[in-house]
Symmetry: C2
Subunit: 445 residues, 2 copies
């Protein structure tokens, strides 16, 4: 038979067990954290009517979208993010769900991006949002969730940078650049990447900002220091602008709420240079960087928006939420040697010595599992060396060795595979001594 | 602005929080069970080169597949099951992974099915397989996993029906119908649906079976009784056929291994009428029905196959595995009132009485969360009635009520929302008494 070459599409990837176990562990931690704040899971289809997806996306996402005509002649697209589907979902179901509506959504999205940039065309997003309230409590919770989540995966050295779009808008108002805000924000957002001179060029070109305006804009971005110092400085910059003063008050309130909830000072920073490229943010914006790995970029970003679903409903739906950078976090955990301590397999290995005793091994394994242990029985009576080689590759914690001598004596050897030490253990009908020894060795409570 | 009607594509569906929480809980239980046997997770892309997907599928799946040309001119398809991607994956990676390779894969698949039959065009599959071994231990584990899984979700009354294709092949050999086995199996598989007369018609039409052959085939399907009785009867039917006798021996071995592992007799049944429609099974086959809901069909089905990846590699990869019917199981749990006891939200509700105390509520909530409790703070200082209405709809277990009086007295009210009873509780700096009361009320250990 002519064979087909087994390969994935360009920009797509398989997850082998080790990588997938790490991804699953991270997602489980994210879910646990989201739930601990009352966020509930939802899901939406991978395919949507094309008009649903093209409505709000940028030209870039429109161009990258996978789209086709289905067998029924409908023009459809594959979702490229979870925000547009959320807008459609909220417009359709908010009457049933009521507000505030707190949801998380962890799902795959597709973008036909240029793979030369090391980007994948299929990846997971991991979003949480609170819809239908303007309360600053929801803004604060966005920061608290990110703080809890990073700690839960073992990272302590990180900086959540917060800003508020209203502060920027107030400054622009005072500078007479309010109408050019989108162009100004896009330029300022590149400061870290292209430097002040090129940003100044772009500000002149796209926003018509003169030298004095540009200097004040760049001065805003370089405001540094303790929160109180920064707040004082920006308060002067927005003085007289109602929206700007509101923005400063909101920022101050957000910082106080986060401090009251125990976010350490070193993990939270007021940073007026944070703008977030996306046009739809209108209030709080956040970005999160890892202090040891700044080059990896933001691992959790988000903000507040005024009207989520205006394309689909007249009902005004304000909201606030953020998205976790799963791939970046997994890469960071790998670089920091923090990869989640879930071996991609069971904890206890039972080699199969003697085919005639197969059912005895299965029976013992079943008893261990009923006590909560995770147990793998090797399926073939190969040489012990081969079986232990397999165990070694898989990373089990312990092995239960029962050969002819042990069966005759009614006991077994419990081997600690990391220490290489063995202990003899009585093998009773209920396997209680064996269960106890294994639980102690593995650290199950 | 002209608005777009928010709607999903025909045959696609949104998961609202309650339905999604139930699905998540079921999937988590499946993962926990799979892992407890040493199965590891993998993932593969939703899109594959079309030639990968069309190679092995049936005409029906080929017709139902979502396929299109991507922006780079590649002909691609969306996966319609997890077996074909596993074959491609195994051919590509088995040298790295080694055998036996035990994987689970929980992922979305797409089929442009006729929605009039109540079918969805997007659904999740939940497969587990052991690749690279012919050991009967792997066959037995398939049954053990299904048994453990159903118990773990609270179902005790179920029947795992087992059979072996070699038994059927032995009977066919003895009847001189070995060459027509695919047609015969397809016809026999319909016995429950269309009855013996129509099956006999089909056997004549598609397999050329005469009346005497048909009678013997139908007799085989009606063999009933205790395992030992059935084994004796089928042993007579396959007598003289080597493959048939091997099949009977394997069945006997499988039943013994499952009994030794503690599968109760009432949950496991030898049923020679089970054939499974799919051509690629070559040994053990299983189906699982719920005794109280037989109409729902099989909730876990699978079997052994000789050569998973022959389209992609010369390496012979035998394997055995099964697939969980997630949608059917969710429907069953709903009908049996066994819906997983995960409220789609946090356990503890903190109403926000007084805006000026917002940070105090946030601080208390943070302390409760650090002790492992799941806590939602209402984001707005609305009337208490409104807030409790919300809490009622969401299904919280307890509320922590702290109004002006309580703040003054340094205590709070802990309200059991199912019983409607309140207790006063001291509100210390570390909230220890409150944490203890809530943990007792909710049943967290």
């Amino acid at each position: 038979m002519a064979q087909i070459t087994p390969r994935t599409l360009k920009g797509f990837r398989d997850y082998l067990p080790e990588a997938m176990a790490a991804r699953e562990a991270l997602i489980e931690t994210a879910k646990r954290t989201y739930r601990s704040y009352g966020f509930s899971p939802i899901d939406t289809p991978a395919l949507e009517h094309l008009e649903v997806l093209t409505g709000k996306g940028s030209d870039e996402t429109d161009k990258q979208m996978y789209r086709f005509e289905d067998a029924g002649g409908r023009t459809v697209g594959m979702r490229f993010d979870l925000t547009v589907p959320l807008a459609r979902f909220a417009a359709q179901h908010i009457q049933t769900l009521g507000t505030p509506f707190k949801r998380y959504h962890i799902a795959t999205v597709w973008r036909g991006e240029n793979t030369q940039a090391g980007r994948y065309r299929e990846f997971m997003q991991c979003d949480f949002d609170t819809i239908g309230t303007k309360s600053p409590v929801a803004d604060a919770e966005m920061v608290l969730v990110v703080n809890d989540l990073l700690r839960a995966i073992g990272i302590q050295q990180f900086t959540i940078s917060v800003n508020n779009r209203m502060v920027l808008n107030g400054v622009l108002e005072n500078l007479g650049l309010a109408e050019q805000s989108a162009a100004v924000l896009r330029a300022l957002d590149k400061l870290g990447k292209i430097g002040p001179q090129k940003v100044a060029d772009e500000l002149l070109r796209t926003a018509g900002a003169d030298r004095s305006q540009t200097e004040k804009l760049l001065a805003l971005s370089s405001v540094q220091g303790d929160d109180d110092v920064v707040l004082d400085q920006i308060r002067r910059l927005v003085e007289g602008s109602e929206i700007g003063e509101q923005g400063v008050a909101q920022l101050q309130e957000l910082l106080a709420a986060c401090r009251a909830s125990g976010v350490p000072a070193e993990n939270l920073k007021l940073d007026v240079s944070i703008a977030r490229g996306l046009d739809y943010y209108t209030g709080t914006v956040i970005e999160t960087t890892l202090d040891q790995l700044p080059a990896i970029g933001s691992v959790a970003s988000g903000g507040r928006y005024d009207n989520l679903a205006e394309l689909f409903t007249k009902q005004e739906l304000p909201g606030v939420g953020a998205s976790l950078g799963l791939d970046r976090l997994l890469e960071a955990l790998r670089q920091l040697n923090l990869s989640p301590c879930t071996p991609p397999s069971a904890d206890v290995f039972v080699p199969l010595f003697d085919k005639d005793h197969t059912n005895d091994y299965l029976s013992i394994a079943a008893k261990l599992r009923r006590s909560g242990l995770r147990v793998e029985v090797y399926p073939e009576a190969k040489k012990l060396g081969k079986q232990l080689q397999y165990a070694d590759r898989r990373g089990f914690r312990a092995a239960v060795i029962i050969g002819a001598d042990e069966f005759a004596a009614g006991n077994c050897q419990v081997k600690d595979l990391s220490e290489g030490v063995s202990h003899t253990c009585v093998l009773s009908e209920d396997a209680s001594e064996l269960i106890e020894q294994l639980q102690t060795l593995i650290g199950v409570e």
